[in-house]
Symmetry: C2
Subunit: 421 residues, 2 copies
């Protein structure tokens, strides 16, 4: 059998990191740039410093941990992920990619393997987007897809800006290095879906990512008392909410690869005995094929138009607030993942990422791919999120293989960047 990473060390660190911001039920809450996120980063940086790795920080708090290569002119191989979590986060989402990346660096050191290229382990700030919007913020800024000043001005629900937190944690002292001129980017992640587990595959060879579109829907009627006004005379936004839910569900049924989610609903003023004057909701549409996603978008807009015309008493508005294009990963890197899995005797299948990842931003700048491992019941963003130790170690070893192959420059790259859809 081929040598791999130290699975026990990796597992112990995953469990140690989970204690930072531990929640009942076994999950973690380390929302981006909170005290808990910062504590998690300090734990991680302690491990890096113990091995003497040089760490750089940029203006949005992205961390770059370098294991040097022997060729001073060679561009680095980037690996990594994120340490922040959802409020109801688990122990593996993001954290696995970062700690497996550290495991890659240390395994090379433990075996005194010299590489031509340096390897930079990246920790991206605010991948989750639950506290500060948009998601995948740190990699977005690093890749030049988000404006730095606009990003620093983003506010959380309590009115605190990203800049406030960046300053508080001392990330503003150094100039922004930006994305290093890099050879490629490879990210290991849990699948966050049920497919690998259902088919008993250890490795997901990720060929690309779904396009994502986010919408805000507002339904404005007229607030009134719950008792006196007859149903027929009300301008109640709630029945319209029902129609919009139905529309979104119908779009989700048109194609097996479609994903449609309503994650937030708010009624105003939100009192048991008041017919709400307003309802707000979010909609998240995803599909791996741009043409189908375009059709879903059009069907959604047309559906809202039809609802609007059928209910003149209600003001229904829907607008696209953010999108992430359909992503195709680098063909050579994809093949390198497939080869590693095959050579290690690991079951594997091609898979499309349903979730958004920092790798989607990187893919617009450098050759990129991802490696997935199964997670139990497909559950993620939840304290129940779980990946088996053997799968975690297998994924980290595939990451090691692909990073090492690139850092030694043994596989040619397709030379094609992923094409944003």
């Amino acid at each position: 059998m081929r040598h791999g990473v130290d699975g026990e060390r990796l597992w112990a660190r995953l469990m140690a990191m989970a204690e930072i911001g531990a929640t009942s039920g076994g999950g973690s809450c380390r929302q981006a740039l909170s005290d808990m996120d910062e504590a998690g980063r300090k734990l991680f940086l302690g491990w890096c410093e113990a091995r003497g790795y040089r760490v750089r920080k940029d203006r949005v708090g992205n961390l770059f941990v370098r294991r040097p290569g022997s060729d001073p002119a060679a561009t680095p191989v980037l690996i990594g992920s994120h340490l922040d979590t959802q409020p109801t986060g688990g122990r593996f989402d993001g954290v696995l990619g970062v700690l497996a990346g550290l495991e890659v660096l240390e395994t090379l050191d433990d075996r005194t393997v010299e590489t031509d290229r340096p390897i930079d382990l990246c920790v991206w700030t605010n991948e989750e987007g639950c506290r500060f919007q948009p998601a995948m913020m740190g990699s977005g800024v690093a890749c030049g897809l988000l404006d730095l000043e606009t990003t620093l001005a983003a506010r959380d629900g309590g009115g605190i800006t990203l800049a406030d937190e960046i300053n508080r944690h001392g990330y503003d002292g150094e100039p922004m290095p930006g994305l290093p001129d890099a050879d490629c980017y490879i990210e290991l992640h849990i699948e966050q879906g049920p497919i690998l587990e259902a088919e008993a595959k250890t490795i997901g060879v990720v060929t690309g990512g779904q396009g994502i579109r986010w919408y805000e829907i507002s339904v404005v009627g007229e607030e009134t008392h719950a008792g006196p006004v007859p149903m027929a005379l009300r301008k109640d936004p709630v029945p319209m909410l029902m129609h919009v839910i139905g529309l979104v569900q119908a779009i989700g049924r048109t194609d097996e690869a479609a994903r449609c989610t309503i994650g937030k609903i708010e009624l105003s003023p939100g009192a048991i005995n008041v017919v709400p004057g307003r309802a707000d909701m979010t909609v998240d549409l995803r599909h791996p094929d741009k043409a189908v996603l375009d059709k879903m978008h059009q069907r959604f807009m047309d559906g809202l138009d039809a609802l609007r015309q059928g209910h003149a008493e209600i003001d229904l508005q829907g607008r696209l607030t953010w999108h992430s294009p359909v992503i195709a990963f680098d063909r050579v890197l994809i093949e390198a993942v497939r080869t590693s899995a095959r050579e290690r005797g690991l079951t594997h299948r091609d898979i499309v990422s349903g979730a958004g990842h920092d790798a989607f931003n990187l893919a617009r700048r450098v050759p990129t791919t991802m490696i997935f491992v199964p997670c139990r019941d497909g559950v993620s963003h939840n304290p129940r999120e779980y990946a088996a130790p053997a799968d975690v170690a297998a994924g980290a070893s595939v990451l090691l293989d692909v990073a090492l192959a690139r850092a030694r420059a043994m596989i040619p790259l397709a030379g094609e960047f992923a094409t944003p859809a």
Copy 2:
């Protein structure tokens, strides 16, 4: 024409009170026992003290302002309403009944009219129920329908107890007088519905009140990431929410007098890219006929059962959390309102109260009735809430007539208490 109240003085005071907790759009926010509510009470008490009326306060902050009668053995006529508002309250809901009551006392003084019975003007604490639950709290305790200690332990959304606020405002110094042994209770209020305005009637002769039932519905599925999990494998509570909205709307269409409202919906964790694990909603069902309301309740429970059986992957729970029975007001007092309107040449019609009122609690203890005046567009619990000065004065004069007739003991009472349904 018969003498009535001083409409200009009453209007000026309504406008002065509206400045306390004034909100943009012309409304007021004086949630129960907040600083603004207390400031409104102080303004009111200043007016009472200027006329030398004795004021008593009970353990939940109800105020009783007495104009004495000549017969020391006679029980008082109670009039009144409340000064607290919804967060998005208007200038008339509750306030009208209190300030018109003060106008009754002062008009009798201005004209040096002596009555046999004392008249007690009541200001009930926390009628609205938006900050502390349940609604109609002060009158509920006074009428022995709510337990005092349980009520004092009620907490607002920030964890502050009613007792904290009672102590802070100094209402805990005196023993609780309870509801005085009273002759009757009469409350003037805006209709909070569109019927009087639509039919161009000045006085609503209120014959009783709708029964009200409140429910909490929880829908528990499984939280997961918005991208990877196929629609068919999700345990998403949102489609179930759609079915429950549809059920509630269908119940609202079965009978013209039915009122069905969903005032609150909350998705947890409530993030744009997370399939929620849980949805919570409130339902408010009302009808003036107990038999029909019972049928609506049964239909709702049966509907939830059917939904539950059709969606085994989702845990759907619904429970009745509070109810207010169908109320029939006192026949003699109702006739006294009708007589006053007729003799004053005011257009009037019988009407059922769609909203809950402190009068519903009082009706379970003493002969009770209400007088309604129109409000523009039927809008209430909203800054746009408006009643015309002439209608406000007309309603106050009818209140004067009925209170005066009872305080002089010129009309016999039916001797029947309202029967809780």
